[in-house]
């Protein structure tokens, strides 16, 4: 299983692997919003938590269709399905690899992007906390969408439509953590709900994804 993780990470950082795609997209969103909204610090400060989370979510969505599609095209998915690793573990590892290459860079770069959006200084630790707690759910839920659409050519549109509703709870509670943190309010409840969503997704969704892949391989 570690071999699979190492392979996926290695492919991601080699030429054409798509590493940094999410980060670049996040940067574009966050840089363009102030131009669109205008130089109104108060307004930017108020919408910063929502924009940061929205940017992270869309950046995550951007690279989802690669999670299984490439392995399906070159036949690796058939071979992995007949390999000694359970398909549930394959799915979980691939979601983890997606998080490491997409979610983790976003978490690390978020404070810098918060600066561009005039986020309140006391909101920074909560921004990192919320993204750390919430982005794994984005990768796991997204891999479920990718598993459902794996056999389809150009399944990206369907994938986005399937996954977006599943992302809404993470977006609501994630942005709430940052907003409350920036205002100096108590963040315990939304942070716990956010962590609960992530833990439940990590525990349950790989089984659904593996089932979806089995159906799609037929």
């Amino acid at each position: 299983m570690i071999a699979l993780l190492i392979r996926d990470l290695r492919i991601a950082i080699r030429a054409g692997g798509g590493f940094g795609l999410g980060l670049a997209f996040f940067l574009i969103v966050v840089t363009l919003v102030p131009f669109g909204v205008g130089a109104r610090t108060e307004l930017l400060r108020a919408i910063a938590p929502g924009i940061l989370w929205l940017g992270a979510l869309l950046a995550c969505l951007l690279s989802l269709d690669r999670v299984f599609a490439l392995d399906h095209e070159d036949g690796s998915l058939d071979l992995l399905a007949t390999a000694p690793i359970p398909l549930e573990a394959v799915v979980a590892i691939k979601a983890l690899a997606h998080w490491i290459t997409t979610g983790l860079p976003l978490v690390l770069a978020a404070p810098l992007f918060g600066l561009l959006l005039q986020l309140e200084p006391r909101g920074y630790p909560w921004l990192v906390c919320a993204l750390l707690a919430g982005t794994p759910a984005l990768s796991v839920l997204g891999s479920f969408g990718a598993a459902l659409t794996v056999g389809l050519k150009r399944g990206g549109l369907l994938l986005s439509l399937l996954v977006l509703p599943l992302y809404i709870p993470t977006l609501i509670f994630g942005a709430d953590v940052v907003r409350r943190g920036a205002q100096g309010l108590d963040v315990t409840t939304p942070l716990l709900v956010l962590a609960a969503i992530t833990l439940a997704s990590v525990a349950l969704v790989p089984f659904a994804s593996a089932a979806a892949i089995r159906v799609n391989l037929r």
């Binding site: 290695r10 492919i11 690796s76 390999a83």
Partner: protein, 210 residues
């Protein structure tokens, strides 16, 4: 001891039965070559044996560990080297040594090249070398000799023979002669499932068989 025992299997593609009454028993040291016209269901049968899709009835008994499957695509990652590709599959299957497989499929000189720079035949040789590092007794291969030259076909026949001698077994679909006279040939034409009404919709050859 039999490695593969298929009894009265019915194979379906897209919900429609295409092969029926299939009975096969394969002992250690034996190989079966599947023959039949395009679309008869060779790939579907091999995928059913590999467990990638369910049968429509009947039973398949396999070794508990499962099979080593090689499909039309080789499952290679273009940005990884030959060595990394093979090493990955070796680790997945429990970390066997890959030296012998590289040598026997004549890949030793190519081991540091990335898979995207290989020719179709070289890719296929790498795909077949993967079978050798799985350590599984039953090989299920779909058109293993596509894009191989005569010399590589001979190499392939040699590793299959070696696998059989070591107590393995193989099921393969192929259109060419492999130089494996000991392999049983199973022609699937007679096992074609008869659609109700004695006619397979959309199949212009149907008249020849019914």
């Amino acid at each position: 001891m039999s490695l593969l025992h298929i009894h009265d299997l019915c194979v379906a593609r897209g919900g429609m039965a295409i092969l029926q009454n299939l009975c096969v028993t394969l002992d250690r040291g034996q190989a079966i070559v599947l023959r039949g016209p395009n679309g008869i269901g060779k790939t579907t049968l091999l995928r059913t044996i590999a467990g990638l899709q369910p049968g429509h009835g009947g039973t398949i008994k396999l070794p508990a560990e499962g099979v080593a499957y090689a499909g039309h695509a080789d499952g290679l990652k273009p940005s990884l080297s030959v060595l990394e590709n093979l090493q990955f599959w070796a680790s997945v299957y429990g970390g066997r040594s890959i030296e012998a497989a590289l040598d026997q499929m004549n890949l030793a000189d190519l081991q540091h090249r990335t898979a995207q720079t290989l020719s179709a035949g070289q890719k296929r040789r790498l795909g077949l070398a993967r079978l050798m590092v799985t350590g599984r007794a039953l090989w299920v291969m779909d058109e293993p000799t596509v894009s191989l030259d005569t010399r590589s076909v001979a190499l392939f026949a040699q590793i299959v023979r070696q696998h059989l001698a070591a107590g393995g077994a193989a099921v393969m679909a192929t259109h060419i002669d492999l130089g494996l006279p000991e392999a049983h040939v199973l022609d699937l034409t007679d096992l074609r499932a008869r659609a109700r009404g004695g006619f397979t919709p959309g199949d212009p050859l149907a008249g020849d068989y019914f």
